[in-house]
Subunit: 452 residues, 2 copies
């Protein structure tokens, strides 16, 4: 994806007749992300099936209605029909061609000079009347560890003399995550219980997590997959990416530290994972590509991970932000407190390299698979992507404007991730929010047997 | 599951009018496992959709045909209708009641004294005319590590003084695996490439795996799931298990040792995982339950993993076997060589404990999820469940009757896992085979872009 991929849909001066889109922080006409939504239906009424939509300003354009409107033909129509489904796996399985054709048509229809405004207006659903859903049926979820500052900062907590392990600059480190526990932004969850140890007691106990944390990550949605046993070459890898989202890899640090040897994190990261609702396409992010830059002295990527185009423009330049609003702050109407301002520039490996590496032993990807980047921390405390880092493992207290303090996330806290792509000469776009509130741990008791 | 769960379907004297079932090593009438099959259709003809079946001797009873035959009513009919689908997720989502009702009806219909033999005979498909398919759509696959002898033997290779880590006897150790790369028995695969290091060169390279291994595991299929955030209590956990299979967790040891720090195995175990085709139900295994036995001095399970019924009868007493047939042996008609004879008795945690632990932080299980037990080695070399153990990390050579030698799996080798449940007073049953041949590594070259 290079400057050659810029076209009229990236024109920063282009307005939309959907007025809330013009100057919209996240969703101007240059973005046009895809997602799944349902209308809120008043109690007692029926309807409101989940279906695909495009976010434009404070509205969602109903792609099922559009696919039936007669306004589309050819490839764009085929893509809109796939997007009429309750999951977008088939839309993204179609690949870049249909996805781009639909983008170009949507841009035309939503542009200020289009003549079909009246017809299209009836297909708009105000965001306040809609509920977003998980956009994909996730076959598999993989979490990587390519935020090098996070790896160094966390490594320093545990191995001060040797923070980065010998494989880090050779292997895009990752592990398999849990697909069932990925939820869309806005789904709250209860503090997890787990087996953990507490100071002065060598025997573990089963109790609510005491050190609940967030992790600021970029999510990658996979489009077309590969055949089992057939690695995807780095030259083709970007074509398998359908789009991007924000991802909060909620982590229970005390459960994690007790369970993770020797096979890695398990229940400490599979109770709840939050993703933002809108799939930000590679087309929308074309103006915000960046070169990958390895510090001098680092090894070159091995040939199966090395490609000139990817090294020159395979990175992303997107600002990332973590906001905390405690229950008291929300009740008092206090604005959320920014815990961190970071960037996707802190990825040591490109998203194309993740695709090439993941398939390099023959593992098959399928449309709708999800990758997390790993925590994308900057090098300083104001850019750290987790409380583990910000509080130095729970030792340092964060003071909030409300007078409250935090080391880890408390019940009632709302964590919101945001992303913003800004560059001179381009229209700024965002990802929308990736948000959840932590509810108190459930009271455990008898649950009914599935047999009874 | 105790002796109270034994009924007339376990009568070891019960014959079937399907003559190949009587005395069948794996599939007498007392077994009645469920699976998915397609008929082999000669080239040029159509038909043969995937659907559920019950294995009986050398035949498969077509459950779709049975569901349409008028021979079933009520709960058994509902279960057979669910089993008519190309995946069995919905059958097992129905839980133990419908699954048992169908078993009891199948036992009656296939018993020697049944009057519907002619009608039923038309629904039998000879195994030689059928291809088995993966029985479930796997939402998530989790691999545990509960074979304590394997943990000790492998731990000793890397940490001679301290083979078992401090958490082992408290936590059923597990990690998330890859669902997309689980394949049914009979699907062969190519030796994986991967990033690995070789002696005398500190820099890694990307090349075909040099130390390909099998792992002998019990597979567990999940039936009814749980709501996100709601742990399954140990008392109810067994009710969430739909059945069992054999699982070969193929492992690339050189890729594994290089990639696994700090987050655990990733591509070294996600290129191909083999499961046996037939789901052996808890009902079929009722005569083969065993007490869990912890060595004196080991800690008691924490309360969320402790339940008297499970401690008394939550274990399984099933013999496990690993067979190797090299290409030369198969060409010469030489019988496969037994590499290992082990048992499910070597599990430190019961399958119900795995269910309770997996959901203990709120992770939701879904029907069709798959667990692997981890490698189930016995304490001696003739019972080791991997070549890593048998060859002491590649140092000791295994001599085969053909005159060939092995340290790890070579191209052309066929590895077959088998299982057999035998007890005095019960009809012996088996699991069928879990088999794959390792093909040479693919020649990597340009693969087409999904866009082209």
């Amino acid at each position: 994806m290079t400057a050659a991929n810029l076209d009229h849909t990236h024109d920063p001066a282009a307005p939309s007749w959907v007025e809330s889109a013009n100057g919209h922080l996240d969703f101007p006409i240059q973005n046009l992300p895809f997602g799944v939504f349902q209308e809120r239906i008043p109690a007692g009424l029926t309807g409101g099936e989940a279906r695909g939509g495009t976010r434009i300003g404070d509205e969602i354009l109903d792609l099922r209605a559009l696919s039936r409107s007669g306004l589309l033909t050819g490839t764009a129509l085929a893509a809109a029909r796939a997007a009429a489904e309750p999951r977008l796996n088939e839309l993204f399985n179609l690949g870049a061609g249909p996805r781009k054709a639909l983008r170009i048509k949507l841009f035309q229809l939503l542009s200020a000079d289009d003549g079909d405004r009246e017809k299209l207006s009836s297909m708009l659903v105000p965001v306040r009347n809609a509920v977003v859903r998980l956009p994909m049926e996730i076959g598999d979820y993989t979490d990587f560890y390519v935020g090098i500052n996070h790896a160094i900062t966390v490594g320093t907590l545990f191995r001060p003399d040797n923070p980065l392990l010998p494989n880090y600059k050779w292997v895009p480190i990752g592990y398999h995550g849990r697909a069932s526990s990925v939820h869309v932004s806005g789904d709250d969850f209860h503090r997890p219980h787990g087996q953990l140890t507490v100071p002065d007691n060598p025997a573990p106990s089963y109790q609510p997590c005491r050190s609940l944390d967030f992790e600021l990550e970029l999510g990658v949605w996979i489009g077309p997959g590969n055949q089992a046993g057939q690695p995807i070459l780095i030259e083709n890898a970007a074509d398998h990416i359908a789009g991007y989202c924000l991802l909060n890899d909620w982590s229970a640090r005390d459960i994690q530290s007790w369970e993770s040897q020797p096979l890695g994190p398990f229940l400490s990261k599979s109770f709840h994972t939050t993703v933002s609702a809108w799939v930000i396409t590679p087309e929308a992010l074309a103006p915000f590509r960046a070169a990958m830059s390895r510090p001098i002295g680092d090894p070159d990527p091995l040939p199966y991970l090395d490609c000139a185009d990817d090294q020159q423009a395979g990175g992303l330049d997107v600002q990332l932000e973590v906001l905390l609003a405690t229950a008291a702050m929300r009740a008092a109407g206090v604005a959320p407190h920014r815990l961190s301002l970071s960037s996707t520039r802190h990825m040591y490996w490109s998203t194309a390299q993740l695709v090439a590496h993941h398939t390099s032993a023959g593992c098959d990807l399928r449309p709708g698979d999800l990758f997390g980047s790993g925590t994308l921390s900057g090098p300083t405390v104001d850019a750290y992507g987790s409380l583990l880092e910000i509080s130095s493992g729970g030792r340092d207290v964060v003071r909030l404007p409300s007078g409250e303090t935090r080391t880890y996330v408390q019940d009632g806290d709302e964590i919101t991730l945001r992303a913003r792509a800004e560059r001179s000469g381009a229209a700024s776009i965002g990802f929308g929010e990736c948000r959840a509130v932590v509810l108190p741990a459930v009271v455990l008791g008898k649950t009914p047997s599935p047999d009874s």
